[in-house]
Chain length 475, copies 2
């Protein structure tokens, strides 16, 4: 490997002066993620084209240089930070929407485009890209693809694996080979599905330089309801009844009573209601709004909801703050974590966990997760996408508090085991990164499918024979 100085010089030759940054402060900024994982890059580069990325990967291959592709680094499992030394590729300057068609229902964008930009752009046409991770305002197309992101509409629209029609990627090989996979059509059956192998691969197989995403019309109207239940079982039974009555649910979210109380308090929200909170949206034309809302209320009331807030439209739902608690419990947790520090000079470290269980197991799961938190004596908020069974417990500790950190880590281990025991999964939409490697093994072992890991490692070698792409992640 050439010296750091030579590498910087070479990179400037390949990418241009202003595309290479080796200032310590800047490099450190790009070596951190949203939680606290921090790595050790020697430079950050800002390519502007696929051919620059190709030249970069070819150079990296020939010189055994490690490469860390990065979007907004808003993932929270340590998958976007440089685990060892190497070059961070930032896609800040590959941020153009290149093409779109509402007739053909796709949008093509560079990896640095943020999901929120896509949706602001499409909203003018009445269309949307329905994968909406909580980080939607910062998350980029490339990052969402690599982390296999999901969101509130997972039950209806799945996750990124269900939303990518075409990819342009660059391989970390001698030539920096560019591959164009898939296309613009929903149906595409040309050999093995390499697109979905790359979706969720956490930047370890290839570098995404362009993506074509499937878009859908925005619903004409949604009716929305928030209901509060003294008992978690009653809330879960309400969800069971919704499914039995064949509601085609658009959004189905929940928070447990402790989380509602703490979030309302921390963020000084106006919303009234106590207990476990269920939020349901159904997309129906205005003519059917009343009937649908009545039917929803009936389900809530017959399952012992203590109070109900209803909204005939999304606008009314926003005015009444129906989604505020759900959106707010992560920021509220950060505030609670910050305020609870013993030493105000330390950082609060906040973990968002990400298991799934079959929705029918959600009440049991939440009860057991609460017991776990009590057992370890750690504070926790939790809510999630109850429609698709995805639960996000949020936990925190103060930087330097090794005892608490250890407790949080043991909690997470038990949480993953619980998910497996209930027929669920250790990671739903955040991925493995550096924090869930143990979970990956646990789940494969529970399924007696350890050989799947060998297969994954061999696939990695096909795409990245020198192991230079985002090393240290997944296993």
């Amino acid at each position: 490997m050439p010296s750091k100085k030579d590498v910087i010089k070479d990179l400037r030759k390949i990418l241009g002066e202003e595309a290479v940054e080796d200032d310590d402060l800047v490099v450190r900024m790009y070596s951190k993620d949203a939680v606290y994982f921090e790595g050790n890059a020697i430079a950050v580069v800002f390519p502007t084209s696929t051919s620059q990325v190709s030249a970069l990967l070819s150079y990296a291959y020939r010189n055994d240089l490690r490469i860390y592709p990065q979007g907004s680094a808003s993932e929270i499992v340590g998958s976007s930070t440089p685990a060892e030394d190497g070059i961070v590729i930032s896609f800040n300057r590959m941020n153009k929407i290149k093409q779109y068609s509402t007739v053909d229902m796709y949008i093509t964008a560079e990896p640095g485009v943020r999901l929120v930009e896509i949706n602001e752009f499409l909203a003018k046409e009445g269309y949307t890209f329905p994968i909406d991770p909580a980080s939607v305002k910062s998350a980029t197309v490339g990052g969402a693809i690599n982390s296999g992101a999901g969101g509130m509409m997972g039950l209806r629209y799945g996750t990124m694996k269900d939303a990518v029609l075409g990819l342009e990627v660059v391989l970390p090989d001698e030539k920096g080979t560019v591959l164009r996979l898939g296309g613009r059509t929903t149906k595409h059956r040309v050999g093995y599905d390499l697109i979905r192998l790359i979706v969720g691969s956490e930047g370890t197989l290839a570098v995404v330089t362009e993506a074509t995403l499937k878009i859908v019309p925005l619903p004409e109207n949604t009716v929305n309801i928030a209901a509060f239940f003294p008992s978690l079982e009653d809330l879960a039974n309400a969800v069971v009844e919704l499914k039995k009555r064949k509601f085609n649910l658009y959004i189905t979210e929940f928070l447990d009573s402790y989380t509602v109380e703490k979030t309302v308090e921390a963020l000084k929200l106006k919303i009234k209601g106590k207990g476990n909170m269920l939020i349901v949206s159904v997309d129906v034309p205005v003519e059917a709004a009343d009937r649908t809302l009545s039917a929803l209320k009936e389900v809530m009331v017959s399952n012992n909801a203590s109070s109900i807030i209803e909204a005939r439209s999304l606008k009314e739902a926003e005015e009444k703050g129906i989604f505020d608690v759900r959106r707010g419990y992560y920021p509220a947790s950060i505030r609670i974590a910050a305020e609870g520090r013993k030493d105000p000079r330390t950082r609060p470290i906040v973990y968002v966990e990400d298991i799934s269980v079959p929705p029918s197991k959600m009440a049991e799961c939440v009860r057991k997760v609460r017991e776990l938190a009590e057992k370890y004596g750690i504070e926790m908020t939790l809510g999630g996408h109850i429609g698709d069974g995805n639960l996000h417990p949020v936990l925190w500790f103060e930087e330097g508090d090794e005892e608490k950190k250890e407790k949080v880590f043991r909690f997470i281990r038990d949480l993953m085991q619980l998910a497996i025991d209930l027929g669920g999964t250790v990671s739903s939409e955040h991925g493995i990164g550096t924090t869930k490697k143990e979970g990956l093994i646990m789940e494969l072992e529970a399924n007696k499918s350890e050989k799947a890991l060998d297969i994954m490692k061999e696939i990695k070698r096909i795409f990245d024979p020198k192991g230079i792409l985002n090393p240290g992640k997944l296993w």
Copy 2:
């Protein structure tokens, strides 16, 4: 490799007497598919459990025996027939629905269960599995997974790749390793997505022994319309307007005028209407049926539809025969092909082609496909899923008519080139099999992505190092 006699003896020991069939007539029956591809197996086996499949694959691996997994063999690209000698695995006896939950929205079934059985079973609960290939009555779960099947609801629900939550598969290795991948939840992010690598792999990577599929509620109501257009451009413009007006289309099918005429005639259908036919279904609650139907009619009329048939419900649509032409044009083509034979002792060979183009290119594509058929002087019917751009030209020739066969093959080559030129794909939901190998190469070359094929071949070697699983397919 042991002798045929020894193989049969060994198989009987492993699977039981009545699970192994080497009668010539039976073996030949299982060596054919729905078109006319015929292979050369030495036996057919009927396992009843995963452990039997595992023992079988282990035996096959140790004895270099080729294995051809087979569902209903209703695929039409030659992917299910034994290309060389070897053993056909029929899943006729692994045909149980094992578990399901409308709350958790999944159904788990053995590979031999037919899709129609799944849907008859789910209909009682008001749910459905929305991937509905034309062969839905015979197509099996295992076959649909391996061929990556699609159908009329592709625009809304995608294809099999969007519908499989979990898989149990057996690998063709020393031990016949059983892998359990994925699970029951929509969200699942545990390492690389091996499930979607196997979906659409045409039985070349692993043998599916169980699948968990994502199910959805049946719509409460659909409104349906069939409109006839003198001009193809007008029909296409109507579709453009539907998308612009943000209809959330449930089904969007079409047939060109020649096909409508020939199908109505061949099947003696009652439906009245001449010209290019567009069929649209939108799922809306009853309260919004009138407004939706009016809006749909408005779009049709303003784009010069000459006649319109409308139905306020699916039942009414069936009574009025709205879908009969669409469903009938393949059987009608078979009848036309049979009746047009010069020698009644020969078989009519009917090909269903399967390209996609972006829907905005559909009118141009159909016009050019008609020109191609004229150029080669071959008869052709055609229709397709205009909502997602998937076009199915149907062509035929008489067995033994080498000149016509050659013309059909040259037509197909030009058709695939046309799809590529219009930004589409050579295969949408049927796959590559033995008939589209050239198309696979053409498309990869057009995208300058030949290396994708090398990657696919290396992936094949990981799963199937001896190349014993469905050899001769894909490349």
